[in-house]
């Protein structure tokens, strides 16, 4: 507070992810949660002699799942941001917690892009940048696939120019 001259704050990275990430996250959360809730419901209905308060738990789980499906993608879309400068890559992610990751491009070892089946449906693509540290991979989730292609091209061009062993 007062021991540091002018409080330094990590500003948010410049760009948001693709707006199509919201329906994508909604659908994938819906699929995952639906499986759990339906399984719980079926178990509750089929197993005889279950006390009635278990039904309350199932209802509560269903309510939580609905809240998750509705809220998570929107919060996450507001939080997730990314930026690639000529020297570094910076991302912010999370929806309950927050994680900011920064890596210098001079230490980047690989640049991968990934597109799952569902992501392809929404025209999305993720980029993962790894360094020599297992703790250091940086993922930019759910970019528009054209943007992702450009970013990968740019990252590979920059990192190819630095010939170090990056440790």
């Amino acid at each position: 507070m007062s021991d540091v001259g002018g409080t330094p704050v990590l500003r948010a990275p410049a760009h948001q992810v693709s707006p199509r990430a919201v329906p994508f996250w909604t659908v994938s959360a819906l699929i995952g949660d639906a499986v759990l809730v339906v399984a719980a419901l079926v178990a509750w209905l089929l197993i005889p002699g279950v006390p009635s308060w278990v039904g309350l738990i199932v209802a509560l789980a269903a309510a939580l799942a609905v809240a998750h499906v509705v809220l998570m993608p929107r919060i996450r879309f507001r939080v997730h941001r990314w930026e690639v400068t000529d020297t570094a890559v910076h991302t912010r992610e999370g929806w309950i917690g927050r994680q900011s990751r920064i890596a210098p491009l001079s230490r980047v070892q690989t640049v991968d892009s990934r597109q799952g089946a569902l992501m392809r449906l929404f025209g999305l693509s993720s980029i993962t940048v790894t360094t020599a540290s297992a703790a250091g991979p940086i993922t930019v989730d759910c970019l528009d696939q054209d943007t992702a292609r450009d970013v990968v091209a740019r990252l590979t061009a920059i990192t190819a120019a630095t010939a170090d062993d990056a440790t």
């Binding site: 507070m1 007062s2 001259g5 002018g6 930026e83 999370g94 309950i96 927050r98 994680q99 990056a166």
Partner: protein, 523 residues
């Protein structure tokens, strides 16, 4: 049979022909004996056929690797060729050789052999030569490392003054409280052929019983004994019951006391024996720009870590060891199979600090005061431990409920756990801290052990600022410096967010600059 290829290809030591069959026989002896017993009980006629196979099989199998393995050293590469049908050639460019480790089991040493492992900076990609004659192995190591240190830029340490003779800087034999028995003057590095940083001092044996690493071994041994005990005829239920009645005639307390004393005695003997076996003739030497560790009574180890690849050190003071003023030291290096290499046995703290400063070539990071993380961090440290205690109490409560035991005992247990948790929480807060000192990031951590991790800021290859929901509410964050060395991350836990950002910004100037804004007006 298989001709030695020309062009400088060499076989491993012919004494490997003795080593491998002995190993093969050792591995095959149980199935072979079982088979022989089985057969001999059925029919004696097959003996003349089976015996030669049983004896010759391991011999031939053991000889094959020697016949089919060749290695050579060219001007630019180490090459190893192995395989009879599938030829397999591994090569390592000499300028990528990061470490050359020698290891010899008891069997190796009887035969005068050494196993050589050459690390090339890529994880899990080590070239193994098992086994070379000891003299060849040492020569190979010296050749590889000297060539590498010649290739390394000689301008790094400009014009070293005439060095004292080899190993002239002899470490003192170490009075416990006195000055650290290590090579002095880490600030102005001479570059003699080799400098002794530390060697075993048998007064350090007093630390052996306080280092609990070997307790796992003891537990294993006890487990094994108890399994054997199950099979002993005396240990059936009847015998146990009558023995118990016999025991209860005497003072139970006395029996327990004897057991405890006995266990302690066994522990002390085991710990001291283990310490002696592991650290016999321990020497840590700096030579050809590498740290070189040799130790071992039965299995000798010789580990070499290239100094430019050493990005930091970690000093650990486990609870018991700290009570008697001891510490352990590890180096954090990149490109080694396991980035954390323990370079000192449990030894006086002053020795660990001295060697650490010598390795870092900088005094301070291991002794200076750390910046504490404040009241909120203390609260989190307490709550973290209390939550663990609460988990245990919950589990215990469920068990109590099932077993229908007296709740009074549960309350006592809960009380004890809470007190323990509070102590652990306070301890873990006191170990918490950070500092930034002359290109070194220092992080304090640990609950029962006090751990201080020092990482060169040059070795930092990225940052993660992580906040859980609870941390966001009180403005704290975990700052993680990612690195290729050691455990690949250094964690500064529960530090105020703005302090974390400022720390990262100062540690790696320029990296965060585009992303940091200073809010003077708001401060």
């Amino acid at each position: 049979m298989i001709p030695v290829p020309g062009d400088g290809w060499v076989r491993l030591s012919p004494r490997k022909l003795l080593l491998d069959p002995v190993k093969a026989v050792g591995q095959a002896i149980v199935p072979v004996v079982v088979a022989l017993v089985g057969i001999s009980q059925s029919d004696m006629r097959y003996w003349p056929f089976i015996l030669p196979v049983a004896v010759l099989g391991p011999l031939v199998l053991g000889a094959l690797p020697w016949l089919t393995t060749h290695y050579r050293l060219t001007d630019t590469q180490v090459q190893v060729r192995r395989g009879l049908l599938n030829k397999n050639t591994s090569t390592a460019p000499l300028d990528r050789v990061r470490s050359v480790d020698l290891e010899a089991s008891l069997l190796h040493r009887v035969l005068g052999l050494q196993k050589v492992q050459i690390g090339t900076g890529v994880d899990d990609d080590r070239i193994t030569l098992d086994a070379l004659a000891a003299a060849d192995a040492h020569a190979l190591r010296t050749t590889l490392l000297r060539r590498r240190s010649l290739q390394a830029s000689p301008g790094a340490a400009p014009a070293p003054p005439p060095a004292p003779a080899d190993e002239a800087v002899e470490a003192g034999t170490g009075e416990p409280g006195g000055p650290a028995p290590v090579a002095p003057a880490p600030v102005a590095p001479l570059v003699p052929a080799s400098v002794l940083l530390a060697q075993i001092d048998w007064s350090w044996l007093r630390f052996a019983p306080f280092s609990l690493g070997r307790l796992v071994l003891l537990a294993g041994a006890v487990g094994l004994l108890s399994q054997l005990g199950d099979d002993l005829p005396i240990w059936n239920e009847q015998a146990a019951t009558s023995a118990w009645e016999w025991v209860t005639q005497f003072a139970v307390v006395a029996i327990v006391a004897v057991l405890v004393v006995g266990a302690l005695a066994v522990w002390v003997v085991l710990a001291v024996a283990g310490y002696v076996a592991q650290w016999w003739r321990f020497r840590l030497v700096r030579e050809h720009g590498s740290l070189h560790l040799t130790a071992g009574l039965f299995t000798t180890r010789s580990i070499t870590v290239e100094e430019p690849k050493v990005r930091g050190v970690e000093m650990t003071e486990p609870l018991l060891l700290r009570l008697v003023g001891g510490a352990e030291l590890s180096t954090l290096a990149t490109g080694v199979e396991n980035g954390v290499t323990q370079v000192l046995p449990p030894c006086p703290r002053a020795v660990a600090v001295g060697v650490g400063e010598s390795v870092l070539e900088h005094p301070g990071p291991l002794t200076e005061d750390l910046v504490p993380h404040g009241a909120k961090a203390r609260r989190r440290a307490w709550f973290r431990q209390l939550r663990h205690a609460l988990d245990l109490v919950l589990v215990a409560a469920v068990a109590w409920w099932f077993l229908d035991l007296s709740w009074w005992w549960l309350l006592t247990l809960a009380g004890a756990l809470v007190v323990l948790a509070a102590a652990a929480g306070e301890a873990s807060y006191r170990h918490l801290g950070h500092a930034l000192d002359h290109q070194h990031l220092v992080a304090g951590s640990g609950t029962l052990a006090r751990v201080r991790t020092v990482l060169e800021t040059d070795g930092i290859i990225g940052w993660v600022v992580s906040q859980s929901w609870w941390q966001r509410r009180i403005g704290l964050a975990d700052l993680i410096a990612t690195t290729a060395a050691g455990n690949e991350r250094v964690l500064v836990r529960d530090v105020r967010l703005e302090v974390a950002v400022a720390l990262a910004d100062r540690a790696t100037p320029g990296l965060l600059a585009p992303f940091v804004v200073h809010t003077d007006a708001l401060a």
